[in-house]
């Protein structure tokens, strides 16, 4: 029973880790520019398809395909941010919502046209399959891989934000954009770079998610509420906030679907409603 619980906890953490990698870019755009990007999941989907194509068409090994997905996501982020997104930063949230839903629809239609409506298969390398026994608990190797990768990313991100000049600029811009601009920080550029980084991470997450969440053209809509939830509960001001929110979400979703499969996804929605009722500004948000 206890090992059961540990297994679920482990799977939940792996799931939450995945949600965190995909959502962190969304959190940054919200914290930095107060921009609601509902098309964020499309970057994850892009990463998924790039990874699948790199493996099946070009024969790239799995880890290499993830790296390609990361780069492709970053490039797509730069192009879209400079080409489209920057025109809607100053718009109302309604305009941003409409604009990014429009982009999401276009991404879904394009993916369905290019790759068909079905699920994409992913063939994990042998060293990432199977199970290992850690302290009496059987855990999936791939889940373990997810947790390790995301932990490394989190450490790297924290270092970037806390200990580099670029990170200091990001923090200044999040805290007070006007003052940061007044001090000569090019907030627009800071934002372009963070947007690209967030898109790249989402694409990486999308590549890693194929085995867990699946990959089909409806991906950006199917998981949109999860990404938004991570950001709404965790806030867009820290890395810690979305991380904790994603882990809570992951654990409760896995546990809910395991223990009470009849009401499967209600658990997560109920949790969400409860959390937003108690913390309307998120766990780490500050009231505006």
């Amino acid at each position: 029973m206890l090992s059961h619980l540990a297994g679920i906890l482990f799977d939940g953490v792996a799931y939450g880790a995945l949600l965190f990698v995909i959502s962190i870019g969304l959190a940054i755009t919200l914290g930095l520019m107060n921009f609601i990007n509902l098309a964020h999941g499309a970057f994850a989907m892009l990463g998924g398809y790039v990874a699948v194509m790199a493996m099946s068409r070009a024969g790239v090994p799995f880890l290499g395909a993830l790296a390609i997905a990361f780069v492709a996501g970053g490039m797509a982020g730069v192009v879209l941010e400079r080409g489209l997104y920057r025109y809607v930063y100053d718009r109302s949230h309604l305009d941003q919502v409409l604009f990014t839903i429009g982009l999401t629809f276009m991404a879904i239609a394009t993916a369905a046209y290019a790759f068909g409506p079905g699920q994409q298969p992913v063939h994990l390398p042998p060293y990432l399959t199977g199970q290992v026994n850690i302290g009496g608990v059987d855990v999936g190797v791939y889940r373990l891989f997810l947790i390790v990768v995301v932990a490394a990313i989190t450490v790297a991100l924290s270092w970037l934000v806390e200990h580099t000049r670029f990170g200091a600029r990001v923090r200044a811009a999040v805290d007070n954009r006007v003052a940061a601009e007044g001090l000569g920080i090019d907030v627009t550029r800071v934002f372009s770079v963070t947007f690209a980084l967030g898109s790249a991470l989402a694409a990486l997450g999308g590549g890693m998610a194929i085995d867990v969440l699946g990959l089909d053209p409806t991906f950006p809509l199917k998981y949109m509420v999860y990404f938004l939830l991570v950001v709404a509960v965790g806030g867009g001001r820290t890395i810690k906030g979305p991380l904790i929110a994603a882990l809570i979400l992951g654990v409760f979703d896995v546990a809910g679907k395991y223990y009470v499969p009849e009401i499967g996804s209600f658990v997560i929605y109920a949790l969400m409603v409860a959390m937003l009722a108690i913390f309307p500004n998120g766990l780490f948000g500050r009231p505006r």
């Binding site: 919200l30 839903i101 950001v231």
Partner: protein, 331 residues
């Protein structure tokens, strides 16, 4: 952005004559026409909460679906009286609206987006799981309707459905026209223009938002019930995200905050969809997305303000050239 004035202008009267003419001019489109009115009524309900209360909802279909299932289940179980079915749909949707409004009014835009989205998804899951009651993904068929007032039967040619939906749409519209011009409507405008200042003049913003959200939910419930009654079927897609997104698009295409915008948008959207979606469903989604992107980039506020802006610019140009509007006909 001004709500309609007390007196009905010529354009407004002309607007409502169009569907009457269409009834006689396009007899084969009556069934389709009734669907347009349902969508128009649904868009009108969203206009209240988006155009007048500035609440961005991604799950308005929740209330539409509740109304549809309420009316559908009533008829399915042997009570097919149309008007009381509409009322029941409105009441159930209003209760759900009032219950969720507590979360809606407290949060910021992002919280509102997620709560509306989440409530919609949750209800969809309920309808999906409770297949023994709702019919699940197969939908609820066998929804026999009694004749309206015991006289007008719902026939296959759709004439009853057309007139019935048009009358309901018009009746609700007249009511809403009064509401937005009432002191309550004015205070809503106040909330829209300056949410932080309204408490200073003694207006409880929270209470206004709860009322308007509940009202919007009730009307969406009527629209849903109307769909169930006129099609005598309830598909699970009445609760789907696509429907919430579609109605939002219809409203912003027409223009939010005018009452007419949603109806105009619904008509345009439904006709386009009818033409384009028959080519391919995937293409339709692409064009829909492109339309949204272009709308935000180039036509802020929708078609009604666009048309208003154009006519104002034309007028200004005439004034600049020193010509009175009475001479304009010749130029």
């Amino acid at each position: 952005m001004t709500p309609p004035r007390e007196r009905w202008s010529a354009i407004e009267i002309a607007f409502w004559i169009v569907p009457v003419v269409a009834y006689f001019a396009l007899p084969t489109f009556r069934t389709f026409g009734s669907q347009v009115f349902v969508a128009g009524l649904f868009a009108l309900s969203l206009d209240l909460i988006l155009g007048y209360a500035r609440i961005v909802s991604l799950g308005h279909a929740a209330f539409f679906g509740l109304g549809a299932y309420t009316a559908g289940l009533l008829a399915h179980h042997g009570f097919g009286e149309p008007l009381s079915g509409l009322a029941a749909g409105a009441v159930v949707a209003a209760l759900a609206g009032a219950a969720t409004s507590v979360l809606i009014v407290r949060g910021q835009d992002l919280t509102r987006l997620i709560v509306t989205l989440g409530v919609g998804l949750m209800l969809y899951e309920v309808a999906n799981r409770a297949a023994s009651i709702t019919g699940g993904v197969d939908g609820l068929s066998e929804v026999p309707m009694w004749p309206i007032f015991g006289v007008f039967r719902f026939g296959l040619d759709g004439s009853t459905a057309y007139v019935y939906s048009l009358v309901v749409l018009f009746a609700v519209f007249v009511l809403m026209r009064r509401v937005v011009r009432s002191p309550f409507g004015l205070s809503l405008r106040g909330v829209r223009e300056g949410e932080r200042r309204m408490p200073a003049i003694g207006v409880s913003v929270t209470r206004k938002l709860v009322i308007v959200y509940t009202l919007g939910a009730a009307i969406a419930g009527i629209a849903g019930a109307l769909l169930a009654q006129t099609t005598q079927f309830v598909g699970i897609d009445v609760l789907g995200f696509q429907r919430s997104a579609d109605i939002l698009i219809m409203l912003v295409v027409g223009g939010a905050g005018y009452l007419y915008g949603g109806i105009v948008g619904a008509a345009i959207f439904m006709i386009l969809q009818d033409r384009l979606a028959s080519l391919s469903a995937a293409y339709w989604q692409f064009w829909l997305g492109l339309l949204l992107v272009l709308l935000v980039l180039f036509a802020r506020g929708g078609l009604i303000p666009l048309a208003e802006g154009l006519s104002r610019r034309l007028r200004d140009r005439r004034v600049k050239r020193g010509r009175g509007p009475q001479e304009a006909g010749g130029g």
